[in-house]
């Protein structure tokens, strides 16, 4: 199986109706399957010339924000026999160089001018989508790769095969039809899903690969920003919104400001009468958002998965009176709760055909040992087929916009503090840094903290800095006690100074 099979699955329902809709200025545009195929072939004919000297099977990066031609470009590369590495458009040059090395990239298709030695660049604005040309040498590829935490240097690359993409899509669909009346009793072919998640992200990509074969068409927001998400939903009859908690938080607030509350009537006024299915993804709903979601009047789903594992569970939040509930397994995975405690809480480990197939490291593709369970680093419990998220045992902070922040990786940027005891930790859902220094906060430290923080992508910058007059607590292994630090800071204000960097 290769990406031709995926391509056929996603285009099949749309021979005579819009598959994708987007906006150019005030003009609404759409394409059916035939037009989508013409865009793909035209792009492939152009890219074939650009990458004429690149052997088949070499990885090509696709680095772009959401774009109406993103999927035609992706399939064009796959059609030409190039596996595609999906890159975050915002990664810095250091991270990009790291990805180029890890995947031994031969080329990049990007919106921007990228200047990387020995890498062929194709700018998206140069690609011709409107010709009637077709590529001469078609040789469909079967691999796609996603990156984790693409905005810092030590990100990892996980490879999935086309059969896994198709299996995941089918299993989630079957699971939803089996468990949710909304799906079994509706004609979903009239539904429209709005694409708010990045197409290059496993979730955004996975969502399109899930809904298109089902006959649900995709619309891109008219403009950037959360206001336009609401406007597009309302004005264009969107039925499904799958997005991160940060956007749900903003939408509930908009309804409260505009209509006095965020109940069902207000949410339908905001997002339109057709809106019926809401999905929260990418991060956990907190209790406040969970309550609002329950009262929103939508069938509200959430679930759990990772780049490495794909979708693992999905469920309707009203099916269980617990904010921890993340649904039932979608199938395609075996799971184990490792070393459960007295509450039966333990780390979730998963295995199966939907888990990633290989990783890319230093230009080599390393297959995953199919006998080994993947340790997720997240704590779960399960009861009668229902899964509950209970916390993390890994040093990752997942923000409500879905951004994963690897705390130890973030810490490595502040290596100028290596002579001090220091750590980066989660504090009020934001990354914070504390260090112990007998000298206190010198001007040199202050300037270094500022300089390093501004070298980081905006989403990953440290929000609070602290200096401790006394040594920081350590674990039994002799490491600074990262997980305990937030409560330690709150309870030791007499010994800990917050550093105001910006005034």
């Amino acid at each position: 199986m290769n990406f031709l099979n995926v391509y056929e699955e996603i285009t099949a329902p749309f021979s005579d109706r819009p598959m994708m809709t987007w906006f150019e200025g005030d003009e609404k545009k759409n394409c059916n399957a035939g037009e989508f195929k013409r865009f793909t072939d035209s792009a492939a004919a152009y890219l074939e010339k650009i990458f004429a000297d690149v052997p088949k099977c070499r990885w090509i990066g696709l680095k772009s924000r959401n774009h109406p031609m993103w999927y035609p470009i992706f399939f064009a590369l796959e059609e030409l026999g190039y596996p595609v590495l999906l890159l975050d458009e915002n990664i810095d040059s250091r991270a990009l160089e790291s990805f180029c090395k890890q995947a031994k990239l031969a080329g990049i298709v990007s919106e921007k001018d990228e200047n990387i030695e020995n890498i062929i660049l194709c700018k998206i604005s140069d690609i011709v989508f409107s010709s009637c040309e077709k590529p001469n040498n078609i040789s469909w590829e079967y691999r796609v790769a996603f990156c984790t935490s693409g905005t810092t240097g030590k990100a990892k690359i996980f490879v999935f095969h086309a059969d896994s993409v198709i299996e995941q899509s089918r299993r989630v669909r079957e699971s939803l039809i089996a468990d949710e009346k909304t799906f079994s009793e509706s004609d979903v072919s009239s539904w429209v899903v709005i694409e708010t998640l990045p197409q290059r992200h496993c979730l955004g990509f996975g969502l399109s690969m899930l809904v298109l074969p089902w006959g649900i068409s995709v619309i891109l927001p008219e403009k950037e920003g959360i206001f336009s998400i609401a406007d597009t939903c309302r004005k264009h009859g969107v039925t499904v919104l799958c997005t991160v908690p940060a956007i749900w938080k903003g939408l509930f607030r908009m309804a409260e400001v505009r209509f006095g509350n965020c109940n069902s009537e207000s949410m339908h006024k905001l997002l339109g009468e057709n809106m019926c299915l809401a999905v929260s993804a990418g991060a956990r709903l907190n209790e406040i958002l969970w309550e609002k979601a329950l009262n929103s009047g939508f069938t509200f789903l959430n679930g759990w998965g990772m780049t490495e594992t794909g979708f693992v569970s999905i469920g309707n939040i009203s099916a269980d009176n617990s904010v921890s509930y993340v649904g039932k397994l979608v199938g395609g995975h075996e799971t184990e709760i490792l070393s459960p405690d007295e509450n039966n809480f333990g780390e979730l480990a998963v295995n199966g055909s939907i888990v990633y197939q290989s990783t890319l490291v230093d230009g080599e593709e390393i297959p995953r040992d199919k006998n080994e369970f993947y340790h997720t680093g997240d704590i779960f419990s399960s009861d009668n087929g229902n899964y509950y998220f209970r916390g993390r045992c890994k040093s990752v902070l997942i923000r409500d916009d879905g951004e994963n922040i690897y705390l130890d990786e973030l810490e490595s940027h502040f290596s100028f503090l290596e002579n001090e005891q220091f750590c980066v930790f989660e504090h009020n859902e934001q990354p914070a840094l504390v260090f112990y220094s007998q000298k206190g906060v010198t001007e040199e430290i202050r300037e270094n903290l500022k300089a390093v923080n501004y070298s980081l992508p905006q989403q990953k910058r440290i929000s609070k800095f602290y200096c401790s007059k006394i040594p920081l607590p350590i674990t039994s292994k002799g490491e600074t006690a990262r997980y305990y630090m937030s409560s330690y800071i709150s309870g030791n204000s007499e010994n800990i100074e917050e550093i105001i960097l910006y005034k």
């Binding site: 206001f227 940060a246 903003g250 910006y502």
Partner: protein, 85 residues
């Protein structure tokens, strides 16, 4: 036409009020940095920039990268300066 700085500030506060609790917005001074001091998320910041771009017909795509800290005051000044050009 050159934008009025106070009006731009009101526009920015208007966006904040649509997306954040009133009490939280009331605590934000004109000089507080959005991300670094107020912990305002990227979704809200993007919407502030998009609204200013549309309302004052200026291009803020470079500033949206947030390579420098940005506050209500500094963003309003940037918008005013761009409307002068």
């Amino acid at each position: 036409m050159k934008a009025n700085i106070e009006e731009v500030k009101q526009t920015i506060r208007g966006v904040l009020l649509e997306l954040m609790e009133e009490d939280a917005v009331a605590k934000i001074s004109d000089s507080d940095f959005f991300a670094e001091e107020m912990g305002i998320g990227s979704m809200t910041i993007v919407q502030i920039f998009v609204t200013c771009q549309e309302k004052y017909n200026v291009d803020l795509s470079n500033e949206m990268q947030l390579t420098e800290p940005m506050s209500i005051q500094t963003l309003a000044e940037t918008v005013v300066n761009k409307t002068e050009q």
